[in-house]
Symmetry: C2
Subunit: 83 residues, 2 copies
């Protein structure tokens, strides 16, 4: 399954609890689209959020965000992970 990293930039009110609530909605919405939001990283100072997600397509990942809470990412990158 392709892996994507998306970036939400300068999100106003990106506090930990608000973002956790939005993420919970992603988890409740994703199964019907075979999408799996895996992790996210939050920079509260700048309001940047980075989501790591497995999805059949970029559009499927975006659709989950749109339906779950409407906050779609500014960028989405298909990536491979290395460590």
């Amino acid at each position: 399954m392709p892996l994507y990293l998306d970036i939400h930039k300068n999100v106003e009110g990106a506090r930990a609890q608000a973002v956790a609530d939005a993420h919970m909605r992603d988890l409740q919405t994703q199964d019907q689209y075979r999408v799996k939001y895996l992790k996210y990283w939050l920079d509260e100072e700048s309001g940047h959020i980075f989501c790591l997600v497995e999805a059949p397509s970029k559009e499927a990942a975006e659709r989950v965000h749109r339906e779950a809470h409407g906050l779609v990412a500014d960028e989405i990158h298909e990536v491979r992970e290395y460590s």
Copy 2:
């Protein structure tokens, strides 16, 4: 230890092997600065690289990249990780 996610944008020649070589140099350089590059994600198509790194400061993380291979990030965000 603070956690950072950095972004290298539109890097020319960002092929998997070249990035793996640069990452190896980070690993060889990082200990003296108490920095730990943990993972990275590569979008070969756009040439974006995202590095996840534990470091005592943003400057320490950047210094490792600079000394190891000279390819410093365009942005670095202090983040918290959630899953």
